[in-house]
């Protein structure tokens, strides 16, 4: 069976749903961030696949943009986590309920 665009999209969907589910069920903030990275990667696959479909390199450029966003997000997110850990000695989100009040 030949590999079509649809295959790639389904693959990306599976990865995205995996990351999404992981983000909801995991309690460790670091792993949650990793799940976000996984979701971003799934989006990247969609970009590259459509780029291939149209023969237009614009999708590649957006993937590179996504890299930068992912890097920025990881840097900021992890910096926040480190700071939280310093103060609360935990990165378990269920223990971090300050938002409630």
């Amino acid at each position: 069976m030949e590999v079509t665009l649809t295959h790639y999209l389904v693959l990306a969907t599976l990865l995205f749903l995996t990351g999404m589910t992981g983000f909801v069920v995991r309690r460790n903030a670091i792993v949650m961030l990793m799940c976000v990275e996984l979701m971003l990667c799934a989006v990247n696959i969609v970009f590259v696949a459509f780029s291939r479909l149209h023969g237009d390199g614009g999708g590649h450029v957006f993937v590179l943009m996504n890299f930068a966003v992912a890097a920025a997000e990881a840097a900021i997110g992890l910096a926040i986590l480190v700071e939280i850990f310093r103060r609360r000695r935990t990165v378990d989100v269920d223990d971090l309920k300050a938002l409630m009040e």
Binding site: M1, T13, T18, T21, N28, I45, I76, A79, V91
Partner: protein
């Protein structure tokens, strides 16, 4: 050849994603994620995007994931490596499962109705090569390119500002 590579990389990537989510140890999760990202690089390579593939390995695996591992090691503590608590209480699982399952059903139904879509045609000469991407980056998308550099700059400053101890900040 392409078909074989796709199935191989795709399957391994899904495996890597699932393992990332299910492993209790953050370190092992991170290693699985690296594995998944390398597979994604393979997927990119099959899709005529060699430059993106290489960047995927360099940026994600080489930089971002190293950062993750670094932070995990920095924060080492019993809490991280072993989650003693269960992920969720049992009655909540259906609620968590409904959205992804709904989307999967939707996608399945969609494909059944419309069939698959072929790529068709060939890509232009040099597609996805560094030269082609560079031309776009510094031409059509120059503004976006520059804006991203600002995003990164802000991220650097932000990370520094958060990371520094509050009383040592220059404006306090």
């Amino acid at each position: 050849m392409e078909t074989i590579l796709f199935w191989l990389c795709g399957a391994l990537m899904v495996l890597g994603g699932v393992m990332t989510v299910t492993q209790r140890s953050a370190v092992i999760s991170a290693v699985w994620l690296i594995f998944a990202f390398v597979c994604a690089a393979g997927i990119f390579a099959i899709l005529d995007a060699p430059f993106v593939a290489i960047m995927q390995v360099l940026v994600y695996v080489g930089a971002i994931m190293v950062l993750f591992l670094f932070v995990i090691m920095m924060l080492q503590g019993p809490v991280l490596d072993n989650e003693k608590r269960r992920l969720l209480k049992l009655p909540l699982w259906p609620a968590v499962a409904i959205p992804p399952v709904a989307v999967l059903v939707l996608v399945g139904g969609w494909i059944r109705r419309t069939g698959t879509r072929d790529f068709g045609g060939t890509v232009p000469e040099g597609f996805g090569q560094p030269a082609a991407v560079a031309e776009l980056l510094l031409g059509r998308y120059l503004l976006a390119f520059e804006l991203v550099s600002i995003v990164l700059l802000v991220a650097i400053v932000g990370a520094l500002a958060i990371g520094k101890e509050a009383r040592k900040l220059p404006w306090k």
